[in-house]
């Protein structure tokens, strides 16, 4: 019982708080994905609508977002090594990539609106705009986060806890990536198998990326992601009898 509780848990306040926040985010997106899966399962499929989307732009955006995430991870590394200039530059680059993502996404929306398609054009479009819209809001928050950190590091250098804050922001970016990969599979590729594949890919990518991460972090990541995922899966399984009546 020696030492402080903080060292007993092996995690700083910021990191534990971020993990808890992401766990609740899993249930929010889990709810959205769950409803999407239910309604799609009850309907006849949305091949026609999926074909109208710009898959090329989505894949371009995927690479932009993943690159941003990788840069955030490197910013975290630079901050831990105490390289102030590199950390500030990398954070700025990540924020800019987030802006590029939002610009491309905005262009996509513009084309769709021009083609006369909006959230009220049918069930698929409702989901498309709701899911990508919520995700875009999260990216915007990530841009804000990286931007504020970049300005802070640029002005005041790396104070106590700065590396921890950048690490927490990087965690958030990785989560936004995982959500986007799932979205691309669900909306643009339009198949459950593709979605499962994307989730597995995201998990594998996460495992590779976490090679340098502390063991306590990895355990928490699995526990906090698994708990809500199990809950959401249970929700879906329980709702399964309702599917019969929905068809």
């Amino acid at each position: 019982m020696s030492g402080t509780a903080a060292t007993r848990a092996g995690l700083t306040h910021g990191r534990l708080g971020t993990w808890l926040f992401l766990a609740s985010e899993v249930t929010t997106f889990g709810g959205l994905f769950g409803i999407f899966a239910l309604v799609r399962h009850g309907g006849g499929g949305w091949a026609h609508e999926t074909a109208q989307l710009q898959l090329g732009l989505a894949l371009l955006n995927t690479s932009v977002l993943v690159a941003g995430s990788a840069i955030m991870a490197r910013a975290h590394g630079a901050a831990r090594a105490g390289r102030v200039g590199a950390a500030a530059r990398l954070l700025t680059a990540a924020a800019l990539l987030g802006v590029v993502f939002l610009a491309i996404k905005g262009g996509e929306y513009g084309r769709e609106f021009a083609a006369g398609v909006g959230p009220g054009s049918g069930p698929f479009w409702g989901f498309y705009f709701a899911l990508t819209g919520v995700h875009a809001l999260h990216v915007a928050a990530g841009v804000l986060l990286a931007g504020v950190l970049a300005v802070g590091v640029g002005r005041c250098g790396l104070g106590a806890g700065a590396a921890g804050r950048i690490g927490a922001a990087a965690l958030y970016w990785h989560f936004i990536d995982a959500v986007w990969l799932t979205l691309v599979a669900l909306l643009y590729l339009g198949s459950t198998r593709a979605a499962v594949g994307a989730v597995i890919t995201a998990l594998a990518a996460g495992a590779v990326a976490s090679a340098g991460v502390a063991r306590s972090d990895r355990i928490l990541a699995v526990a906090l992601a698994a708990g809500p995922l199990v809950l959401v899966t249970a929700l879906l399984l329980v709702l399964a009898p309702d599917l019969a009546t929905m068809r």
């Binding site: 409803i35 309604v39 705009f129 009546t245």
Partner: protein, 576 residues
């Protein structure tokens, strides 16, 4: 840098605004939540008064409301559309804007850092932000009465499709604002809950293992975890319902979408939410009983495991709110089983409370009276829950006043009895003054009698087939013989509201005139009583070290009848 320095170092001598308004001290933020809860409770109580009058004496002028302008009331007579708004706002205000800020924002914020020997919450600035988000949501909700069309009127559950298209209720912006306000409130308590979990996990004083945690902290921690894991799907649902209203989507509108989905999302959150509200009240009672019985809590481990079991079970009972909504009977049966199963852990907790009293040296100051009042009234709520938990019985009861009586007998004890138990018990700690004992007893006695007189008749109304959510019972021939019971309930409602006057007088009067409180007026053992009343900024002058469990009363062989949980430690006990 030590934790004390981290918390205190940033603000040299804060001015008025920093100290009392935009404070990051968890004690100020906690009291801000409690005051806001009381303000909202006045509005919630007023809605109950107008509703009850209309039910007992339909379409007669409600006294004292002649000043209300025309679209709402006609010289004191309630407009039917306004009645729907009152029902909706009563539920929304009492659950989201009274119970949660009082029990979680108020008690959780104030007590948890003190009880674990920490100088503040883990994220003091986030804590302040959470309160101000909640404050904005409250103002927004109240303002929704003033927009054209009035406030939300689709029930506090906002069932689709009624709430999904403005044309069904005639309320355009009221429900949109309701969705924004509730969304903000949920976000505020999500941030607050995460803050509380990190605090309770990471900032416990040396020696304070989980098995020595005061039960109030266990309850707050469990409540925060339940809220964090259940609120996500509802946030998603609120967003989709908002899009259904403003962007023309049809997530919850028949043909393209499914109205039942909203109910699933709402109750997937809504049922754990019941326990989020219940647990802090239970925690307060469990802190108070051992102090005034001078005995350790009976079955500490059984209580903790029961709480965790109830928390897990609370995620798989939600469809019992939907037995009448046309869900598949194959789905109803397993939910009946889990619902009846969840009464087992709560029965264990109630028996542990009774066993704590058994052969204790009992004394009955006001907090103890509220705690005992909780046990007796909550028992009625719990036992009637077994009736409505059974799908076959619920088919008959669900749309009647029986359910109204049941959930008021479950939530009123938790929020009001548990809340007043906590306020009267910790008031000396919070404000440094003792409350007046006579006014406290008067307040308790009147509230207990009036509460039972309001809601016991509703069980009978329900058994008589009286349906919920109607504006004028006299419109139905078969309900007319039941009208005297409505009269009893309404007179008792007026008494119940007036019974709060001694409390208001006591609360504000004692603040200025009350006897100065010593550090430990009740001779309690937990850490918050080891510091001054009220505690200084940073809570403890020397960081405490915990050496034993929280309820060491009447230990055989000990010189005193109470052994404090902590002793003064050294600087560095909170090193981050």
């Amino acid at each position: 840098m030590s934790e004390t320095a981290r918390v205190l170092g940033h603000e040299p001598a804060p001015g008025f605004w920093r100290r009392y308004v935009f404070s990051i001290d968890h004690k100020t933020v906690g009291r801000q939540y409690m005051v806001m809860a009381m303000v909202m409770a006045v509005v919630g109580g007023a809605t109950a008064y107008v509703m009850r009058w209309q039910l007992a004496w339909p379409e007669t002028a409600v006294p004292l409301t002649g000043w209300m302008p025309e679209p709402f009331m006609y010289r004191g007579i309630v407009d039917p559309a306004f009645y729907n708004q009152l029902v909706t706002m009563h539920g929304t205000i009492m659950i989201f804007f009274v119970a949660m800020p009082l029990l979680l924002g108020g008690l959780g914020n104030y007590l948890v850092p003190l009880m674990i020997g920490a100088p503040d919450m883990a994220f003091p600035r986030l804590n302040m932000l959470s309160f101000w988000i909640f404050f904005s949501a409250s103002i927004l909700l109240l303002a929704s009465f003033l927009v054209p069309g009035g406030a939300a009127s689709a029930g506090w559950t906002s069932y689709a499709p009624l709430a999904a298209r403005p044309m069904y209720t005639g309320v355009e912006w009221g429900i949109n604002i309701w969705l924004i306000a509730v969304g903000l409130e949920l976000a505020s308590f999500l941030l607050g809950g995460i803050n509380l979990i990190v605090t309770a996990v990471n900032m416990r004083a040396p020696g304070l293992s989980f098995s020595r945690l005061p039960l109030m902290v266990w309850m707050q921690l469990t409540a925060a975890v339940l809220f964090m894991l259940s609120v996500g799907p509802l946030i998603a649902g609120v967003l989709m319902l908002f899009l259904d209203r403003v962007a023309g989507t049809s997530f919850f509108v028949p043909a393209d979408g499914d109205p039942l989905l909203w109910q699933h999302l709402f109750w997937f959150f809504g049922h754990p939410e019941v326990y989020v509200l219940l647990l802090p009240g239970v925690g307060a009672v469990l802190e108070i009983l051992p102090v005034f019985a001078r005995k350790p809590v009976f079955g500490y481990r059984a209580i903790v495991w029961s709480t965790i079991a109830a928390g897990v079970l609370s995620f798989i009972v939600w469809a019992h709110h939907m037995f009448l909504s046309g869900i598949d009977p194959r789905l109803a049966t397993p939910f009946s089983v889990t619902t009846i199963l969840i009464s087992v852990p709560f029965a264990i907790i109630l028996f542990a409370m009774l066993a704590t009293l058994w052969r204790g040296s009992l004394s009955f100051p006001t907090p103890m009276l509220w705690a005992l009042g909780f046990i007796t009234t909550f028992l009625v709520g719990g036992l009637t829950g077994i009736f409505v938990g059974s799908a076959a019985v619920d088919m008959y009861f669900h749309d009647t006043y029986f359910v109204v009586a049941h959930f008021h007998f479950a939530l009123f004890p938790a929020v009001v009895f548990g809340g007043f138990a906590a306020i009267t018990f910790w008031y000396p700690k919070m404000f440094g003054r003792m409350l007046h004992e006579g006014l406290g007893r008067l307040h308790f006695g009147l509230t207990l009698l009036a509460f039972n007189a309001v809601f016991l008749p509703m069980f009978v109304l329900g058994l008589g087939g009286h349906m919920r959510r109607i504006y004028d019972p006299t419109a139905y021939e078969f309900l007319r013989p039941l009208m005297p019971l409505h009269g009893v309930a309404t007179i008792a409602t007026v008494v119940l509201l007036l019974s709060q006057a001694p409390f208001v007088l006591n609360f504000f009067g004692s603040f200025f005139l009350g006897r100065r409180a010593p550090a430990n007026p009740w001779r309690a053992a937990t850490l918050e009583w080891a510091t001054t009343s009220p505690p200084p900024h940073g809570n403890f002058s020397t960081p405490p070290v915990v050496v034993r469990g929280p309820y060491e009363y009447s230990v055989p062989g000990a010189a005193d009848d109470m052994l404090p949980q902590g002793q003064a430690g050294g600087e560095g006990a909170w090193a981050a």
